[in-house]
């Protein structure tokens, strides 16, 4: 048995060796080298166009299948929601309810006043603006991923075959490729930044640090097959400024940092993340906080403003929402970063959900699970808009400034501008909002009486 097996063993080893070499050469030539120089062969855009054609074909098949069975194809919530909501105020509504009733004046209680609150309550049970922002956006048509199949029932044999083929390609070819790239990118980042850390502070160090960061982030971008379109690059953030963007996932950082250099802000984690953070800060100053320091708002503000005053340091990257939102809306911006008083460079990031949903639902998936899902989607396609810089105006307080910036980002990205706090993902809403409603109603009941007695 022994001598009989060995020629085959040798052959097998040789074949394996050759295929690995070929694999790595292709990887190097087509992906890593362009990443270093920031060039592109255009392979990813071609891939994207092909995928779109396939999705369109799949939708047509499904619609045909649905028509044969005489059903309407499931269409999720459109931008208008599933019910018609009249944006009338409390006063208008109460006046209308009483239009035909006994008392036209609003200063007396009518039993029909409850109708307004009742209807509003039921409307919010059927469809509310907030809870749907914390789960993945539903698609209009199926993109051949099981995870985004919400009730698309009319799947013919041909579609199933296509789906099966998709699974093989994504898990058998794309996922290993992307994992290899990701590991390469991260290890190069750690190794090179540690090496640069040994250089003395100066122009050479900054230059090299910039190049290394850009190169590694570009490799990571290719590890996710991220196809990014940058708009208005003339507005890119400059030193001494703060860059704010809407937050959808940790990938936002990779997307922004592969086009420019930023100082990151965040809490120091343990494990692999901690290792990456510690080595990054050796090459250029990032702002990392210990867990205990995060609660101290004054300390945080001081460190941020110190960094910003030093014009030689890179612009800070902050996500004022404080948590990941599903990229259909922008939620309340925390005012901390807007109190510092430097120029704010707003950036809007909008993902195209057809190729893969980038939202990180942290209550459903851990980080590793999330990254694996990212790497087994078709691609991550997004657009980044650099908006013109904004500063706080005379007589504007931090909250108003934050809302102004938020409105600009929402407008550019085509997102819904909400006043609700992203913290509602986990926490309860504050009682003060209910008290505001109660005050409003009380004023209507009692307020007009006071006006009458005065005149």
């Amino acid at each position: 048995m022994g001598p009989f097996m060995s020629p085959f063993n040798n052959l097998l080893c040789m074949l394996l060796g050759i295929s690995f070499t070929v694999w790595f050469t292709l990887l190097l030539v087509f992906i890593i080298v362009p990443a270093i120089f920031g060039l592109s062969f255009g392979i990813r855009s071609l891939y994207m166009k092909m995928l779109l054609k396939v999705f369109k074909w799949a939708t047509v098949r499904m619609e045909r299948g649905a028509k044969e069975k005489n059903h309407l194809l499931y269409k999720p919530y459109s931008l208008n929601g599933i019910i018609a909501k009249e944006p009338t105020s409390l006063e208008e509504e109460l006046k209308e309810i009483r239009r035909n009733g006994s008392s036209q004046d609003l200063d007396e209680f009518e039993m029909s006043d409850t109708f307004y609150f009742c209807r509003r309550g039921i409307e919010s049970i059927v469809d509310d603006e907030v809870t749907k922002r914390f789960t993945a956006e539903e698609l209009d048509s199926w993109n051949l991923l099981t995870r985004s199949n919400y009730n698309f029932n009319h799947i013919s044999t041909r579609l199933t075959v296509l789906w099966g083929l998709g699974v093989v390609i994504r898990y058998g070819f794309l996922l290993p490729l992307r994992l290899t790239l990701a590991i390469t990118g991260v290890s190069l980042l750690v190794v090179f930044t540690t090496m640069i850390g040994f250089l003395p502070n100066g122009r050479v160090k900054n230059f090299l640090s910039e190049k290394v960061h850009l190169m590694c982030y570009r490799i990571c971008v290719r590890a996710l097959t991220a196809i990014i379109t940058y708009h208005h690059s003339e507005n890119k953030p400059k030193n001494g400024g703060i860059c704010v963007a809407n937050h959808t996932s940790p990938i936002d950082i990779i997307i922004l940092a592969s086009d420019g250099c930023y100082a990151m802000v965040g809490q120091i984690h343990g494990g692999l993340m901690g290792l990456i953070q510690k080595s990054m800060v050796k090459a250029c100053p990032h702002i990392w906080f210990e867990r205990s320091e995060v609660k101290d708002r004054h300390l945080v503000a001081k460190r941020l403003s110190d960094h910003v005053k030093d014009k030689s340091k890179l612009p800070i990257l902050i996500f004022p929402e404080g948590t990941c939102i599903n990229n259909t809306s922008v939620m309340m911006f925390k005012k901390g970063s807007f109190e510092i008083g430097s120029t704010v460079y707003p950036v809007a990031i909008k993902y195209d959900p057809r190729f893969g949903d980038a939202f990180w639902n942290s209550s459903k998936f851990g980080m590793v699970n999330y990254l694996l899902r990212m790497m087994s989607s078709w691609a991550i396609v997004c657009s980044v808009w650099y908006l013109p810089p904004m500063s706080r105006q005379e007589g504007e307080d931090a909250v108003q400034f934050a809302n102004r910036v938020k409105a600009a980002i929402a407008r550019q990205g085509g997102l819904v501008d909400l006043l609700w706090d992203g913290g509602l993902k986990r926490g309860k809403v504050k009682d003060t909002f209910k008290e505001e409603q109660q005050k409003l109603y009380s004023k209507i009941l009692v307020g007009t009486q006071e006006d009458r007695s005065r005149s």
Partner: protein, 177 residues
Amino acid sequence: KKLNISHSQITRLYSRFHSLDKGENGALSREDFQRIPELAINPLGDRIINAFFPEGEDQVNFRGFMRTLAHFRPVEDNEKNKDLTSGEPLNSRTNKLHFAFQLYDLDRDDKISRDELLQVLRMMVGVNISDEQLGSIADRTIQEADTNGDMCISFSEFTKVLEKVDVEQKMSIRFLH
């Protein structure tokens, strides 16, 4: 069938039910409703949530969920399906008024007492109106509505007071598609 809701509306409502059901046990509890911020800040939020739960129960299944929501279907839809044998639909004017009546009638004894009225008023105005003022508002309301002198408002007295109000429109929500 009595609900007269279309297939696509049912699908959508089921999807919504499922997304509210965080425990994934096929039923909603009061906490599941309170997780909706817009409902939590509604002054009558708790009373509305209560309307979904039958006497003594703390779980509502999808059928119960739809049944309660069916009260709010617009009345025009009935014109299309005039089914004489199916009895009074859930979204008739009377049933809508009954839903509103039950918001006041906490102990479900078919009468709104002065206390029950005061409680609902207190929920709507919060701390902004004094007890005396609220008391006089309640007294005036009962005086105007009470016809049989029992110092309570029965369902028929309630209906009479609201006979000129466009209940059909104000207690309806319109589905798009």
